[in-house]
């Protein structure tokens, strides 16, 4: 199967790279625009993303309007089913993901991302992450991954 026809799962860092110009952004944006199915993000990806944004809002580094603009843009880009015309598809955390996450010896949120990808067996997504420790675990459990910072 052509790589662009496969499903891809974005961890939080990969999602930020789509919206913010930084190392790997070009590859991420190319992937989002060329991949035929929408990119999968989970409730965990969104929760982490909102958590970081709100932390900066609480510290006064972001204004309320900026936060609203960010949320509004995310709302416009994320669909809720496979047939969405939006670039991202939101999936809930699958049953059993928390239980499975205990098996991975990485930081808890990363373990949960791995477990979510494992549990999304119907989609067989490629994990998109530039986190080296996450990539190491992917290798050890034969999970396909793509590092946007590599090329």
């Amino acid at each position: 199967m052509n790589k662009l026809e496969q499903n891809h799962y974005f961890d939080t860092n990969a999602l930020f790279k789509y919206y913010h110009d930084e190392k790997g952004s070009l590859n991420i944006r190319r992937l989002v625009s060329k991949a035929s199915p929408p990119i999968i993000v989970s409730s965990l990806t969104m929760l982490e993303c909102f958590g970081v944004v709100m932390e900066h809002y609480r510290k006064g580094k972001l204004k309320k309007k900026q936060v609203n603009d960010l949320y509004q843009r995310l709302d416009k880009d994320i669909g809720e089913n496979k047939e969405t015309n939006r670039p991202f598809q939101l999936v809930p955390i699958p049953d059993g993901a928390f239980q499975l996450a205990k098996n991975f010896r990485v930081e808890s949120a990363d373990a949960l991302h791995l477990a979510i990808v494992k549990k999304l067996s119907l989609y067989q997504p490629i994990m998109v992450t530039s986190d080296k420790s996450l990539q190491k675990v992917c290798e050890s459990i034969q999970m396909s991954f793509y590092d946007p910072e590599m090329e």
């Binding site: 919206y19 972001l62 603009d69 509004q72 843009r73 809720e80 969405t84």
Partner: protein, 141 residues
């Protein structure tokens, strides 16, 4: 995947539906049509992926302002644009439109003016990616 925006056009005039529908399809939009306010509201209730709705001010059964008000109550976040003939709107309508969160107002004769489609695309997209990137630099840099 190529981003396509979804547009709802609600109008009781069949010729407007057909002319606007064809025009926006050619502009790359996915177009949904509704022949009155009730049908428009139903579509907005069931399809949360409609990005922008072009809503006729005066429609039978349910007028445009009422339809928009109900759609927001139902949790739909689509951006709303009112369409009217140049003679039919009054100041009171404009105030009501602002109150229900209408983003813009065009006359039906504006269809082929470039600023119309630009505005629809602008509302469909939300803030541009460059602006999002600028905001996020506070977090990521």
């Amino acid at each position: 995947m190529e981003r396509k925006y979804k547009l709802l056009i609600a109008d009781d005039d069949q010729s407007i539906l057909s002319e606007y529908g064809n025009y926006f399809e050619k502009q790359g939009f996915i177009v949904e049509l509704a022949q009155d306010g009730i049908e428009g509201l139903e579509k907005l209730r069931h399809d949360k992926e409609i990005d922008v709705a072009l809503v006729d001010l005066k429609m039978p059964k349910m007028d445009g302002i009422e339809m928009i008000k109900e759609a927001h109550k139902a949790g739909n976040n689509a951006e709303m644009i009112i369409l009217s003939h140049d003679t039919e709107s009054e100041k009171v309508d404009a105030i009501a439109a602002i109150k229900v969160g209408v983003k813009d107002w065009f006359e039906k004769s504006d269809l082929y003016k470039p600023k119309f489609v630009v505005r629809v695309k602008e509302l469909a997209e939300g803030i541009p990616l460059e602006e999002v990137s600028r905001i996020l630099s506070v977090i990521r840099d």
